[in-house]
């Protein structure tokens, strides 16, 4: 036996220590709140930090085990091996069940520590409750990791090799997509903690909502980024050219995004007009509950998904905390219902408030429709005993109309005034965008290519015209602001634009998000024209698809010690001019010990603003040097990536600290 403390032992002890500190901190927080002794807040704060330090230590220990190949640690054995590049050894932390739970806990600790730091000199009267909620949730994960999903468990014999991360996961996206989603998912915990603290202490003035809004924004930002990266990963690596499959796990990440988006809008109404307090509280709770439910669905194995984890009993833990959370928060919400009454009533149907309200209803409605489709197989099995699945057609047929209504509201919202919009104002603001709407619809009627389905053609027309409409409204909003600034400050247009955004980041950053959304819709609509075809080609043979001509030039190998690769070289002409070169390939990973060989497909894409030409080699036959090729043409798909990036960027602008806000709420 060695005398030094091995990393797996140290990691395990750190977890136990963290659990003890967590319990201590939680009890102190309760005590501080009940006895109204704010002097104990410092103890609570230090507990949070100490717990976080211990969890960080544990994480570093697991990383150390992964990096140095301590394969008798079961988790390391399952998710790492010697041939993996260092970066994937680090990414293996979230490659499997137990490690990803530790990673989740680490993020929660980082967030909690930041909350404690931010509030080190303020909000003492409800901070202990915020800490208590955060600690309780951290405690849940600590119990889980200590007793049922131990990433440090060892086998009682020596193993000198690991099974490694699935080659399909050894991809750039593996490094950034899961952490981003986790940051978003876990981020919903902080708003929930503030909401609970406000409910428990009864301090329901606007202080909690300011904190909650900025934290929801952070979670929303990472969820957006995570989903965008996931779509991009699917398109390039896993999805045969698709980017969204309505898989239960994708839905699980999309639902809280919808409810968070709803909250970010309705929080503005509460801040400005003191309305919708109950509704906002419900949205915060709902967003958090949806992250728990999503995790429960993913980890319990009760719905079938491509993201499946092994079936395990940790689903039961999540079900328990889910029920406890719903019970407690709904109970508290009902208890405080009378204190959450609105300061104002809606003045008119055509007002900014009601536009926001409709937007909220539609967003939450969409969330429920998706939730229903996701849960339906489970419910059906309970009720009728037969298991069924709900396919993508369901989600598409409900989300297309809902999405279009949302897009419409995106355009309308900023145009209508607070409280009440007069006919004069309506005319003034709506005239040009409405002209754009009608014009583009008419032009599209003649210009837009037709698909075989009438309904699809109608949707395409509405979608593109609405995109033009919303873009016009955003353009006029900016133009209006810039012209005013130019008049008053004599600025150049570009300076005026920059200063306009900086002077009101929330509003103009919000418009950037909206513009990103428009581009996303352009991309989604373009997918209606997606065209795919399979070809069998021998060398020098030619295939034609739409106005492209593809010639299969040659097949050549590219091998190294980890894999064998066969590459097909295909030249592409558009009409008669050379357009580019496609090099799809098939990869055979060298099996490491006790593993079967694994095959991989590396797609090749020629991207352009108008459309992507996407090629995947499905198989090749060495005998006659022929290949099977799948070619997919997806128009406008790059608008999805641009739009997504713009949306995320707009989110950053909104998140930038604003001096004005600081002055008001300091």
């Amino acid at each position: 036996m060695s005398t030094y403390l091995s990393p797996e032992k140290l990691g395990q002890y750190s977890i136990y220590l963290a659990l003890m500190v967590c319990v201590f901190g939680f009890l102190t927080a309760i005590f501080a709140q009940v006895k109204k002794r704010t002097v104990y807040v410092r103890v609570v704060r230090n507990s949070v930090w100490a717990m976080s330090l211990a969890v960080l230590t544990a994480t570093i220990c697991l990383w150390q085990c992964l990096l140095t190949g301590r394969y008798h640690v079961e988790y390391v054995h399952q998710h790492a091996n010697d041939t993996m590049p260092t970066i994937y050894k680090l990414a293996a932390l979230w490659g499997g069940q137990n490690g990803s739970l530790l990673f989740w806990l680490l993020i929660l600790c980082i967030y909690s520590s930041v909350v404690m730091w931010q509030n080190r000199q303020k909000n003492y009267n409800f901070l202990p409750m915020v800490a208590a909620v955060l600690l309780a949730i951290a405690g849940f994960f600590l119990v889980l990791i200590s007793f049922d999903a131990d990433p440090f468990s060892v086998v009682p014999f020596s193993i000198d090799y690991g099974q490694g991360l699935n080659p399909l996961l050894q991809n750039y996206y593996m490094i950034i997509h899961p952490p981003s989603l986790y940051l978003g998912y876990v981020g919903m915990t902080v708003p929930f903690a503030f909401a609970m603290a406000a409910l428990i202490t009864g301090q329901l003035d606007n202080r909690w909502i300011v904190q909650v809004r900025s934290w929801t924004l952070i979670a929303w930002f990472f969820l957006s980024l995570g989903n965008l990266l996931g779509s991009s990963w699917a398109y390039e690596v896993l999805g045969w050219g698709g980017y969204w499959a309505w898989d239960p796990v994708e839905n699980a990440a999309f639902i809280p995004w919808l409810t968070a988006s709803a909250f970010l809008h309705s929080a503005i109404i509460q801040e400005k007009r003191g309305m919708l307090k109950t509704w906002n509280m419900a949205l915060v709770i709902l967003s958090f509950v949806m992250t728990l439910l999503g995790t429960f669905l993913t980890r319990s194995g009760i719905v079938s998904s491509v993201h499946s984890f092994a079936q395990s009993n940790i689903g039961t833990y999540f079900l328990v905390i889910l029920i406890m959370t719903v019970g407690t928060s709904v109970g508290l919400l009902l208890y405080r219902l009378k204190d959450l009454r609105s300061a104002h009533e809606l003045d008119a149907i055509v007002s900014r408030e009601s536009a926001f309200l409709f937007n909220n209803l539609v967003l939450v409605g969409a969330a429920f429709a998706i939730l229903w489709g996701t849960l339906f197989p489970v419910l059906s099995e309970w009720v009728r005993g037969t298991k069924i699945t709900v396919g993508a057609p369901y989600f598409n047929s409900i989300m297309v109309p809902i999405g279009l209504i949302l897009l419409f509201l995106t355009g309308v919202g900023p145009l209508v005034a607070w409280r009440k919009t007069s006919q004069e104002q309506l005319k003034k603001h709506f005239l040009w965008p409405a002209v754009f709407l009608v014009m583009s619809s008419l032009v599209l009627l003649f210009v837009a290519p037709k698909t075989s389905s009438l309904l699809t053609n109608i949707y395409i027309n509405i979608s593109f015209s609405l995109c033009a409409f919303v873009t016009a409204t955003i353009f006029f909003e900016y133009k209006h602001g810039i012209v005013l600034r130019q008049k008053f400050f004599k600025e150049s247009p570009l300076t005026a634009l920059m200063r306009l955004i900086i002077s009101n980041k929330r509003r103009y950053g919000g418009y950037i998000v909206h513009l990103g959304l428009v581009l996303l819709f352009v991309g989604f609509t373009g997918s209606a024209y997606r065209h795919e075809k399979e070809f069998k080609l021998k060398i020098n043979q030619v295939a034609k698809i739409k106005n492209y001509t593809l010639k299969f030039e040659t097949l050549y190998p590219d091998n190294n010690q980890h894999r064998e690769k066969v590459i097909a070289k295909i030249n592409v002409w558009k009409h008669k001019t050379f357009f580019g070169e496609l090099k799809p390939s098939l990869i055979y990973y060298t099996p490491s010990r006790n593993q079967e060989a694994q095959q991989g497909t590396e797609i090749s894409v020629i991207r352009s603003i108008k459309e992507d030409v996407y090629a995947a080699m499905i198989t090749f036959s060495p005998q006659d040097q022929s290949i099977y090729l799948k070619i997919i043409i997806t128009p406008l798909i790059n608008f999805i990536w641009f739009g997504g990036l713009l949306l995320v960027l707009g989110g950053v602008v909104v998140m930038l600290p604003s001096s004005k806000e600081g002055a008001i709420y300091a």
Binding site: E74, H77, Q78, G96, Q97, V155, F157, S158, I159, Q163, L168, W240, S304, V306, S308, F309, A310, S342, E345, L346, D347, A348, S354, L361, V362, G365, F368, A369, W372, G373, F376, P377, S380, T386, K387, I388, T389, V390, G391, A392, P393, Y394, S397, I398, P401, I402, E534, K536, N594, E596, Q598, Q599, T601, I618, T619, F620, S621, S626, Y628, K630
Partner: protein, 147 residues
Amino acid sequence: MKLKSTQFIIALSLLIIGIGIVVTTTLPQATKYYVTVDEFLQDTSKYDQQSIKLAGRVVPGSIEKNTQDLTWEFKVKETDKTVNVFYQGAMPDTFKDESDVVLTGSYAGERFVATEVLAKCASRYEEKLEPSLQMQTVSSVEKRGVE
């Protein structure tokens, strides 16, 4: 016109009802039976002539791939009885012996004609140490000890 909270609740209910109608009318068209191989074999006539999802595990050594016309024939099973599967088209990278697959398609008398193959390969993402492997490793450790 004033909009009170009762009206808000009415609007909310209307929206929920609206979405509910859309949901209930579209849902039946988009649902399929999801059965495991054993459940399927108990009464194949129940799923005759309709598209279903069939979950099973690929029988090792049963995969026959024809690269000429890109057709696949393989067997799937749950416990012991197997179902013959026919498929034409692109296969996911995770498809191989012992893969957990979910097939979409219908049964045509003797074989299941799949239109879509989803290979989960759960065993690779999260693999427990096989007992046999443990034994092997232990015995090799013991052997080394004896030597």
